[in-house]
Symmetry: C2
Subunit: 408 residues, 2 copies
């Protein structure tokens, strides 16, 4: 006799199962996002979940190493699970650019993995939805990204959202204007980035403590950080970078994005990331959700993988936060499960029942027959649990009377 | 100065990139398969790609260990990439059955990973598409699986396919009838399974060499293996298992599956797998492809994870082989990429060009503007490479003449 121990049916923290209801909702949102991408001329690519660790880790260095699932396979190869969709795309473009249309507008939707400490809203396996335009330095490309972002959030039913936009180049010119030393800039940007969570006064205090003098701080606030200066270009000295962001903003308008959904934000830094031009971020006012979408322009997307330069601009949508907001705001209540009709199963009229099912399928109606001969009540309970809106009752009585009972 | 070495942009053998054309085709086929599942009342579930190694390896033992990507994470936990979709589903059902409708009809579509030697048509990362009915022992459940299989291959445009069906229980009764010792059955089934690749004579020779005597072989051939006996029940002695498979076959007919698409095959074994009842397999005659779909019934799907019994019946579709056939038979030539219209970009009429784009999007037409101001020829070349069927030319001349040129 073999006695087998039962394995506890648990999953790793930071990973999730999705049952029928949640899976249907997720698919419905993915399909909506995808349809916006396609409508705007973005084509899908797919890359593997597992790649050479050198490919995945190349960009992230030590920090990435800690947060990346990496291991040796049976052949001793160093392998990693993808950490994002940007690096695999860069690798893909470097390998395939001769056969791709340029500029290359691609989207990619799929899971990524982070060996992170799981927290509320932070997962080890989660979906990213990315769009990028690769191979163009034009302001119009940056503007189109904002246009697609606007389309996505409008289509999903967000009644209030704000696309914040800034330019790394402009930020550098402003810091230059304020005579901030190159070596201090990382720290200054780090402090500015806190402006949304704290007050201008506190940021100014921190800046004085760490690297700037009073005069520098005064000028920086006047040009970019004060409530009056932060959301427009009027106090920013003229220059190439100002012209450039101005052109992006006016093109976004020409793309039909309503003023209420977009704002320049001179204090937007997007962390210490590798962006070199425009940066974007989307927030949902009063939601407490933080950023639900973010991205920017980089001069050379594929520098790790190619001598050729591939300028790129794009964003990643935070699928889980988007799902959270849609759930909480009851935008997903009408997502339907598979079956619209349950044909009740009667042993003596099974032929007729199956014929009815065939007719429903021919009419392209999602329908099923209860898969066992069981008591009516059990079958109705099943319909209830599966949220099947219609039930067809066609027993011998109904057939005698040439009737079918359709009930909701 | 930092000199960075270029990382070669290559991927692991047995994994694949899919560019715009291939990705669009794959998505179109997945959507068709999914629509058939939904039409027949199957709901999606999603489970994580990474699970505790004990969960993934439980069933496969040593063989699985070799073929599974397993590793320790930073916290020392034993983790594995899922090897199939059946084990995670069993784990999911064991953990969630109280909140699921029963019988539970679920589908799952997603990637699985095998640390296998890559060969033509054998990958390390590939998609599976599964349906299962869990929690029912009825013949109708088995029959419905065959019905959905028939729907999938019909919907995808396979003009010729054959669903082969057999019963493990019937096979055991036949071996009993031929007085094959229990200890010899695995070997006998292994030999029978070769019947498609070799002749009956060779199989008989092998059986005589290994474990059966002439009389046993003669009887086995008469009942089940000869051309005359193999595809019907007429020479099989009466019994419960014969009644059962007969009921499944007649119910499949009642479900509307055409006779030409289905056959009993008493020599079908489906390897040495864990099936306990009906087994199914789909072949495409004259395709040289081997099995494109297979599965069967198991008495207890979740025995590793629960004391409760969950009988299940289902199949997995071989997505890659299906794609190969559809590609080779030109069934995917009409799959479209994203954009239907390219609006040509002219610097002096950019406002009008963008207004036209907005109108197209309002009419729900997939369209894009060329994202840079470039020479007409370059823009048309781009449309060509992206297979965009229509181009709108609206320069200053056209606007003066209040005309737009629409060209294919």
């Amino acid at each position: 006799m073999i006695i087998m121990a039962i394995i506890e049916p648990k999953i790793l923290k930071g990973t999730r199962d999705f049952g029928p209801n949640e899976a249907a909702k997720r698919l419905s949102v993915i399909n909506k996002i995808r349809s916006v991408f396609i409508k705007n001329g973005y084509d899908a690519i797919e890359t593997p979940a597992i790649e050479y660790a050198a490919t995945i880790l190349g960009k992230y260095g030590d920090e990435g190493d800690k947060l990346t699932y990496a291991f040796k396979d049976h052949g001793g190869r160093h392998i990693a699970l993808r950490y994002d969709l940007t690096v695999p795309t860069a690798r893909f473009v470097a390998a395939n650019w001769t056969s791709l249309p340029m500029p290359f507008k691609r989207y990619q939707i799929g899971p990524v993995w982070r060996a992170d400490k799981p927290q509320r809203g932070r997962f080890r396996e989660f979906y990213q939805c990315d769009i990028d335009i690769i191979g163009s330095t034009s302001a119009m490309a940056d503007a189109e990204i904002a246009k697609v972002v606007n389309d996505v959030f409008s289509t999903l039913g967000f009644n209030k959202f704000l696309i914040r936009i800034n330019s790394r180049r402009l930020m550098n010119d402003i810091l230059e204007q304020c005579k901030v030393k190159k070596s201090d800039r990382v720290e200054v940007i780090r402090q500015i980035d806190k402006l949304d969570k704290t007050s201008l006064k506190d940021v100014e205090k921190e800046l004085e403590k760490t690297c700037l003098d009073k005069k520098q701080i005064k000028e920086l606030s006047k040009i970019a950080l004060s409530e009056k200066a932060r959301y427009n270009l009027s106090d920013v000295p003229d220059g190439e970078s100002k012209k450039e962001i101005d052109r992006v903003l006016s093109t976004i308008k020409q793309f039909g994005v309503p003023d209420k959904n977009i704002t320049l934000d001179l204090a937007l830094a997007r962390g210490l990331d590798y962006y070199t031009g425009v940066v974007y971020e989307v927030i949902i006012p009063d939601s407490g959700l933080g950023s639900v979408c973010g991205g920017g322009r980089y001069d050379d997307l594929a520098e790790l993988f190619s001598d050729k330069k591939f300028p790129g601009t794009g964003v990643a949508f935070g699928f889980d936060r988007i799902m959270t907001w849609l759930e909480e705001n009851k935008k997903l209540d009408d997502v339907e499960l598979s079956s619209k009709v349950l044909v009740v199963n009667f042993e003596d009229t099974i032929k007729e029942n199956l014929r009815t099912l065939t007719e429903l399928h021919k009419a392209n109606i999602s329908a099923e027959i209860y898969i066992e001969d069981a008591k009516m009540q059990k079958q109705l309970k099943y319909a209830d649990k599966k949220q099947i809106p219609w039930v067809i009752v066609q027993g011998s009585n109904e057939i005698k009377r040439k009737k079918v009972i359709l009930t909701d």
